[in-house]
């Protein structure tokens, strides 16, 4: 059963551009220059019930715009959508009953009152019958370990606690579909792991379809079997996370600053890159900007310290740092290689 069906979705904003200068500013009021910004272009997506999808893309890529259209906040310029069997534009309130949304950076809980009060009020807002509320609440309470802070005013909660509170609030009415916007942002390592465990549980045990927007590659890798990459309003990639990892991501980079003189003495190949000793398995020379080298290596191929040792045994090392793959790099590489993969 398809939870989300999107085809040809597009959204163009008309933005008034200010003309420069004082006279220009005045003229902008009466005769504004309208610039058309295409935030989303021809986006198509199909998500089945029970899936857990990661939505990734740089800032300004059109992720939020897409989510807003899927939830009924924004009306699309063109295209066709069906979410949980509803038309988000014409059936916004019915759809709202079936979805839950958590924003990582903004809470929907009432700031001055204890968490429990917010949850009770949301019960009324979502018209959840008494028995279902009691059952749900009990379950969420134990899953999210809310007891320690259920009576505390929300403004006094730590970020991790508030996130758990927001998750409870979003799941109280048994939504079929859950949108999470940066749920682990700002959390410490322990809290992140905990939230990920909870999200895993929510998806596996309650069968909730989850759409997770994030900048954190680890979130995606640990939770989502499938990911969608959006950039410049277009869908760049839609498929298994493994494939991405094999091709572009998952490689850590060792950035070594060698001795310039020593490097210059080495024979260079056609690219102008120094020819090093045969690199260990799983290690590749990714980039050169003498005297710096970027060595890409797979996480499980060789431990970091061994690679440093190997390098240090053969060449003089002035400096060594490590780089994790940036999502922006992954996307850039996909863009550069003109890759538009779609795994049905």
């Amino acid at each position: 059963m398809n939870m989300i069906e999107v085809s040809g979705l597009g959204k163009t904003f008309r933005v008034a551009k200010r003309r420069p200068g004082l006279l220009g500013g005045l003229r902008s009021i009466v005769d504004p220059e309208i610039k058309r910004v295409e935030a989303v272009h021809d986006l198509s997506l199909n998500i089945e019930a029970g899936e857990m999808i990661g939505l990734i893309g740089p800032n300004g890529a059109g992720k939020s715009t897409t989510i807003k259209m899927l939830t009924g906040i924004l009306v699309p310029s063109k295209g066709h959508m069906r979410v949980a069997g509803f038309d988000p534009v014409r059936q916004r309130r019915e759809l709202a009953q079936r979805i839950g949304v958590v924003f990582g950076q903004r809470t929907q809980l009432w700031w001055d009152l204890p968490l429990i009060d917010s949850l009770r009020l949301l019960r009324h807002l979502y018209r959840v019958p008494e028995e279902r509320f009691a059952a749900n609440f009990a379950q969420l309470r134990s899953m999210l370990a809310l007891d320690e802070f259920i009576e505390t005013p929300v403004r006094q909660l730590s970020l991790g606690q508030r996130m758990r509170g927001d998750l409870a609030a979003a799941l109280l009415h048994d939504p079929a579909l859950l949108y999470l916007d940066e749920p682990t942002i700002g959390l410490d390592v322990v809290a992140k792991a905990r939230i990920r465990e909870i999200l895993q549980q929510i998806n596996a045990e309650r069968g909730v379809t989850v759409l997770l927007t994030t900048h954190d590659m680890d979130d995606i890798e640990m939770l989502c079997p499938r990911m969608v990459i959006i950039d410049h309003g277009r869908k760049l990639y839609d498929g298994a996370v493994e494939a991405i990892r094999e091709r572009f991501g998952g490689d850590r980079a060792l950035v070594a600053t060698l001795d310039a003189a020593e490097l210059a003495k080495l024979p260079h190949d056609a690219r102008g890159w120094p020819m090093l000793d045969t690199l260990p398995d799983g290690v590749t020379l990714a980039q050169v900007e003498e005297p710096r080298l970027w060595l890409g290596f797979k996480r499980d191929a060789i431990p970091a310290h061994e690679l440093v040792a190997w390098l240090g045994a053969r060449y003089r090392l002035h400096d060594v740092t490590f780089q994790e793959p940036e999502i922006e790099d992954v996307i850039r590489r996909i863009y550069e290689q003109n890759l538009l993969l779609s795994v049905a």
Binding site: R14, T65, I73, L74, Q108, L113, L121, H124, L125, R127
Partner: protein
């Protein structure tokens, strides 16, 4: 607007309205509890607002220090008009607080969350704030009413007059709330309409605290037929004081006030819904 086709739809609409109203009061109660946490603050605020509005009342008397009548209205009569206006307005201030803070709600991006809920956006916005401290104005209005009757030895309360006053105040509340709503709706088009809204709300209250016939014909028509605030102020009080209405309008017009108020509210609500749709198209 839905056409009420059969009894089932009619029943459901009534049910929806009732549950919306119940929800509204529940949300308001949350606000009260939130604010009630600071009790001392609350009482100081109510007291201060009582004094502030009393000063406004005193201004009425200042006029009458030099003149004995205002176009046929003596000090007690104007005081009564002021009092009734003030009470109705005070209720609208109290209940309409959510509409007053709407510019902030939009600016902080909180309207998106409102649209994510299966409840009417208007109910959520209207209940997003509640100003208990406006009780200060309502109390002052009631006190002013008693002071006014002290200046009117010839005035006698009848059942119909009491009814007219209550209907007038209730209608006034709805009418002023509708003006607040129109002000909030402006936020969908302009960024910070606060001053303009204040002209319509506080300015309106100010103007209607004095007899309608001191204003020129155009203003009178506006307050009777365009933004019919007079139906919550001048019209009921004219009935109570047995004064005639302009344009040859019937004396018991006050009993049509609720209909006028509701009609005006529905018009304001339609414009609000148009504004919401615009927000959904432009995203801001």
């Amino acid at each position: 607007m839905a056409i009420i086709a059969d009894k089932a739809t009619y029943r459901r609409t009534i049910d929806n309205v009732l549950s919306d109203i119940r929800l509204y009061f529940r949300l308001i109660w949350m606000q009260i509890r939130s604010q009630g946490q600071y009790k001392a603050d609350m009482f100081v605020n109510i007291g201060t607002y009582f004094l502030t509005t009393s000063l406004e009342f005193a201004a009425v008397f200042l006029y009458f220090a030099n003149f004995s009548t205002l176009l046929g209205w003596n000090v007690g009569e104007v005081a009564m008009l002021y009092a009734v206006t003030s009470i109705g307005f005070g209720f609208s201030e109290m209940f309409g607080a959510g509409l007053d803070i709407f510019p902030d709600t939009i600016r902080l991006g909180e309207f998106d969350r409102v649209l994510l809920r299966p409840v009417s956006a208007l109910i959520q916005i209207a209940s997003s704030d509640f100003r208990l401290r406006r009780l200060g104005r309502i109390t002052q209005g009631i006190v002013a009413l008693f002071i006014a009757t002290a200046f009117l030895p010839a005035f006698h309360w009848t059942l119909l007059k009491v009814a007219a006053m209550c209907i007038g105040i209730a209608s006034g509340t709805i009418l002023f709330l509708s003006v607040w709503l129109l002000g909030a709706t402006m936020c969908f088009w302009t960024v910070e309409p606060t001053e303009l809204v204040n002209i319509l709300t506080y300015g309106g209250r100010d103007m209607l605290s004095y007899p309608l016939n001191i204003y020129n014909q155009v203003m009178q028509r506006i307050f009777l037929f365009v933004v019919p605030l007079a139906f919550g102020t001048f019209v009921p009080v004219s009935y109570m004081l047995e004064k005639s209405l302009p344009f040859g309008l019937p004396n018991n017009l006050v009993f049509a006030s609720p209909a006028v108020a509701i009609a005006f509210f529905l018009a304001a609500r339609a414009i609000w819904q148009f504004g919401v749709r615009r927000y959904q198209s432009t995203g801001s």
